[in-house]
Amino acid sequence: MAGTINPVAFLGRTRRRGRIDITDILSWLWLIGGTIAVLVPVVWAGLSSMKPEAEITRFPPSLLPRTTQQVVVPGYDRPLGLWTVTIDGESREMAMVRRIGIKAQMVDPENPAAPVSVDARTISPVQKLTIATENYSDPLERFNFLTYLKNSVFVTVVATILTLIVNAMAAFALSKYRFRGDKAVFVLIISTLMIPLTVVMVPAYMVIVGVGLVDNLWGVIIPTVASPTGVFLLRQYMLTIPDELIEAARVDAASEFRIFWRIVLPLTAPALAVLAIFSVLWRWNDFLWPLIVLSSRENFTLQIGLNAFQGEFSVQWHYILAMTFLSLLPVTVVFLFLQKYITTGIAGTGMK
């Protein structure tokens, strides 16, 4: 059915058939504005990550990655920048030797013997579209990008799997078993939502020190595994699974773990997918906690590694932008694969 929608007819729909209402205009404005607001920073970061270092900070800022063309002129050691110069009403491309105040000394690459002096305000650089692939290749070679990536992937994948299992177990107990104090336990778990990370950071760090997990990836993973948001999300979803299904499984001689593993977990898949997306985002973008726990370079995650491009005196924006853009990709891919579960919502349960 999705294939049969005519895109023109779909986009051309109006509130009232055949005429454009004020709400149509407003919704188009709103949607276009929203798209721009969301898209521009990402697109700008993507394009800028391909600019040479000098171009990023140029004013006025440019959109496309361009660079000043350079030529090798005999008699000069360094390559010289190529500029468009207008002399006697004739436009010529000349290389700039040096610039003093408002005067620029230019030389004709064809005839390097005779430099001329021109007004620097009348010249403009000759530019061409380039892609500064070294923004990507340099960090991959010189910095331990692959190590950071490996650490980030390890932390994200392991923490997400553990988060799903641990939270689903807690949610199963809290939604399907009646025991003394079940409500109190649930409220206690939920109430920890209100405690910000900054409050528990120091005690949590002391625990990590105590168990000897400092500068260890497990020290990053384990404290994040149990999340009240996850327990809440999964419990509320599991409440919608009919108790009769679990009783039927019990009559069918299934052990409690088998009921959890074979009946409840598969039926919770949409909620698990949502939690998986959250968990991947949280762990992938996590900065503060890994920064505290990890101290040696070979254990850095990507986000901590990126921080290394930000020195005390200089910020290597071209590398940061390129690596940031790379670090966005895995999350985007995960989201693409799992997004159908978010919109699926509650699937038919086969119950009346």
């Binding site: 019990r250 009559v251 349960t349 086969g350």
Partner: protein, 374 residues
């Protein structure tokens, strides 16, 4: 095997006592129906037998074993739930296999049992479908199939037909009865529908407010209700109840005065009543007949024609007590018609108005024996 024995079973949820001293024994291969109004505890009783609910006190034996502490699976029972409770993410085949896999059956045995059950229930074409791709009737059959493959000692059904439409309900009812004749396993069936109880049961257990009111074969309960509740619950439309008194006791037995000068012989035990005693007379609509003389005057209000039968609604001429009379075939009395009606011989039930119990009949022992003999 499939005998079931409940002794002094009690169940309380907190302070709410839902089952009181239930005693019941079910023979192997019997089809027993628990019936009663909603909230009478029939589903709780079934869930206790299944092991899904603990008992507060009392003893449950299946096949002579005390199963009170055993899990549902260890009791060798299978249950068909009201909502069918099919696992929605598994195909029909996997639904049927799940219980057997849990019991560590061999693959070949599982496949053989599934094939057999699928053939018996005609669900072979759907084995690879998911439950949501099936109609209500098909889901129902899959749910029964899931119980059959386990080859349990006792089948438990919890209002299995309540989600089906009327036509399908009649059909599935017949299928379950046929299934029972085929596999001859004990079945316990919970329903609030007295028609299901009457048509399917070998033995009916009528429950009210957590107490067993009467146990017996459908016709035994229909012909000899122990009290007003059972009399009113079985049979549709309900039994007519009118105020009456014992007119006298003679050599022929007792006679009863229905008012309006209608004095009729009745078969209550003369020793159990005294002349002038106030009683309640119960007569089923189908057990009235029109008479030329000596009947009770009855004024027609309206009637319902069902083609093969007619229900005439009206009231007794003097006391205005509402009465329903059943007539076979076509009968169209205009509103306001006065008819004389009288109960058929031996079809008059007499109840004590205070205890609501049926007053003993003169030949109760003999009749009871005859019914059991059938």
């Amino acid at each position: 095997m499939g005998e079931l024995k409940l002794s002094s079973l009690n169940k309380a949820f907190g302070a709410v006592h839902v089952l009181h001293d239930i005693d019941l024994s079910v023979k192997d291969g019997e089809f027993v129906v628990f019936v009663g109004p909603s909230g009478c505890g029939k589903s709780t009783l079934l869930r206790i037998i299944a092991g899904l609910e603990d008992v507060t006190s009392g003893r449950i034996e299946i096949g002579g074993r005390d199963v009170g502490q055993l899990s549902p699976a260890e009791r060798k029972i299978a249950m068909v739930f009201q909502s069918y409770a099919l696992y929605p993410h598994m195909s029909v085949r996997k639904n049927l296999a799940f219980g057997l896999e849990n019991l560590k059956f061999k693959r070949s045995e599982i496949d053989a049992r599934i094939a057999e059950a699928a053939r018996m229930l005609a669900i072979e074409p759907y084995l690879d479908r998911k439950p949501r791709q099936l109609s209500g009737g098909q889901r129902q059959r899959v749910a029964i199939g899931r119980a059959i493959v386990r080859e349990p000692d006792i089948f438990l059904f919890d209002e299995p037909l309540s989600n089906l439409d009327a036509a399908l309900r009649v059909q599935t009812r017949a299928e379950i009865t046929r299934l029972h004749q085929q596999i001859k396993t004990t079945m316990i069936y919970v329903t609030h529908d007295q028609v299901e109880a009457m048509t399917m049961a070998d033995k009916i257990v009528i429950l009210r407010a957590g107490r067993v009111e009467q146990v017996g074969s459908p016709l035994e309960l229909f012909d000899y209700p122990r009290n007003l509740f059972v009399a009113g619950f079985l049979g549709s439309p309900r039994m007519n109840i009118v105020r009456a008194s014992i007119a006298g006791i003679g050599p022929e037995g007792a006679s009863i005065d229905l008012g309006h000068g209608a004095v009729l012989p009745c078969d209550v035990d003369p020793a159990a009543v005294r002349p002038g005693q106030r009683v309640l007379a119960g007569i089923r609509p189908a057990h009235f007949q029109r008479v030329e003389e000596g009947g009770v005057p009855f004024v027609v209000q309206y009637y319902e024609s069902l083609g093969t039968e007619t229900y005439v609604y009206g009231a007794l001429a003097e006391t205005q007590e509402p009465i329903i009379v059943h007539e076979t075939g076509h009968f169209a009395p205009p509103s306001g018609t006065r008819l004389a009606i009288a109960p058929m011989p031996g079809r008059l039930h007499v109840f004590d108005p205070d205890s609501e119990l049926a007053i003993a009949r003169r030949d109760a022992g003999q009749r009871r024996g005859a019914v059991h003999g059938n």
